[in-house]
Symmetry: C2
Subunit: 344 residues, 2 copies
């Protein structure tokens, strides 16, 4: 079994280049969304506790079964720990044998950003060049890099209520060729932007964007509203926008549309990617990608790692499956009896 650890993902990104990885990831995601009907899509399993939630997100096609372990623990940050971490597994459906275990903390950040930029390619105005980013936490730089890699966005208008977060963002992207305007407020950031990315960390219903901030033709990439009770947009914005989601049964519970009536009309983004539904249809239309993160994107990311980490310095081997030479002789693997020593 192949084990892809954090150091291997870092080495992969440095070797291929961040922009290349983001573009390739977007390609893998698009390829999987195009074959939407081939996937066995399940609700995630969630184990709730007073401090947070641990989830298992399974998904399978006819060849591979994948799942991601992911936690969400808002209080972790005060302890110097990450709010969200994860790892993922791919297994062969035909034999049931797992063949890849990989870190999915960095990979989730990468696939989330790649997914946002992929969707924006269908939903933002052609020629969009300026993006506002409101909320400069762990995901912010990844969003900026993905939008440049896929759409050529190189002008950023950024805002966070925390000056340290702003300083971190500026330092991380200092030498990477972006023109960055540090805004004094959310409305200042949104002013004149073609795309507005909201990616705050507040675990409550917030009003990061209010209706009067949204001009005609804007695309809103709503990333931060991603669990029950956590939203970022004023409902009036949703009312006058075309809303695109990943997997409707999940987004109804976790996305911005949890604020809306059950019959609020949306389009699943796979339909747009597959050419079965239209994305943006007019220059003045306001579009929203109500992103919560779906298991297919993790599956794509794991497939990508499986295809790109074959080099000896991009993985380790791990034996989590005993492989007796006779499958009925598992006891022999213990090699306790000199008379019948079959080794693992």
């Amino acid at each position: 079994m192949r084990l892809v650890e954090v150091e291997h993902v870092i080495a992969l990104v440095r070797r291929r280049g961040l922009e290349t990885v983001l573009r390739e990831l977007a390609d893998y995601i698009a390829e999987d969304y195009r074959r939407w009907a081939e996937f066995d899509k399940s609700a995630r399993y969630a184990s709730h506790s007073p401090k947070g939630v641990i989830e298992l997100m399974p998904i399978a096609d006819a060849a591979a079964f994948g799942f991601k372990y992911v936690n969400g623990h808002p209080a972790n940050q005060a302890e110097g720990l990450q709010t969200v971490t994860g790892f993922g597994v791919l297994a062969d459906v035909v034999t049931g044998y797992p063949f890849l275990i990989a870190e999915m903390t960095i990979m989730t950040a990468l696939r989330t950003a790649a997914m946002s930029a992929l969707a924006a390619g269908y939903l933002a105005r052609p020629g969009a060049r300026t993006m506002a980013i409101i909320g400069l936490g762990a995901q912010a730089e990844f969003q900026a890099e993905a939008f440049r890699a896929l759409l050529g966005i190189d002008r950023l208008r950024i805002f966070d209520i925390d000056p340290d977060a702003t300083a971190k963002f500026r330092a991380n992207l200092a030498d990477r060729g972006f023109a960055i305007h540090v805004a004094e407020s959310g409305p200042d950031a949104a002013e004149g932007a073609d795309i507005i990315t909201t990616v705050t960390a507040d675990k409550r219903c917030a009003r990061v964007l209010s209706d009067n901030m949204i001009g005609a033709g804007v695309h809103i990439n709503a990333v931060g509203g991603d669990c029950p009770g956590k939203t970022e947009l004023q409902p009036a914005i949703l009312d006058r926008s075309s809303v695109f989601v990943e997997y409707l049964p999940q987004t109804r519970l976790e996305g911005e549309i949890q604020q809306m009536p059950k019959d609020f009309p949306v389009t699943e983004i796979w339909q747009v990617i597959a050419g079965e539904a239209e994305g943006r249809t007019g220059a003045d239309q306001v579009t929203i990608f109500d992103s919560v993160g779906f298991a297919i994107e993790d599956f794509s990311a794991l497939r990508y790692l499986s295809d790109t980490t074959n080099a000896p310095d991009l993985h380790r081997s791990a034996d989590l499956l005993a492989r007796p030479s006779d499958p009925r002789n598992l006891f022999g693997v213990l090699d306790l009896s000199p008379a019948y020593g079959i080794h693992a």
Copy 2:
């Protein structure tokens, strides 16, 4: 994160001794079953395909979340692969961080056998010394070793329709102090046994035991009937026996009692272990442990590994969680910008 591979489990068993490990595992399992109400028990998640099933079995208490990945692919054996393999994970409920990934192929064989012997301690006649084992596949030797370790069973009456399986069993246990009678048939094996363990691999409703084979006072350890459509006992045996199960909602679907009416009376074994229900109540009573394997037993096995594999040669370290020094600076882990290099 600690990674416990197959080689580490083998080293652990050889260092502590197989009988010690089986007894200690039974103690961990008993300890967990005694606090039954503290567990968040869930149905397993199953992904079915034409060749088999892949399952995720989650369980949690207030301190730890655990799950096991396990497959069941009957056609694997013809390909020289194992029918069942698995690995498991333990995570800290307070932070959501996983801290142990371990092989669970050998460990599942060990915990299944330890569970059988633990149950038999409450259900078999006092002084039982002879056990029949019908079905000599991957689990058979583990059952024999566990029953000796916990109950002192050292006389075996064994039968399998395949002479190769019988030869494998005899060779594996040749120097381990058992008196072994190779029976000519199932009824011959059952003759005079205090305990009858059925652990065949047939994936169908079989009649490994028929009613006329079962004398008064026998304990039946029914291990092989463990999924829908797979049973080993004639229903008439169940009708005149006291039946004990792990977790009723699961055993109704997967165990021997899938053949019986929905209101067929059974006792959950945790009640017996916790002293809230009686096990065997008379010398002539026929008892059945209708074992299918429950997530608590995997949780106990993972807890056991967590407590016993601290030595440097009993595990490896694996980094599946990026640990940025500032949790909001995940991008810095990539170390792309010399201006703000925070390393993983």
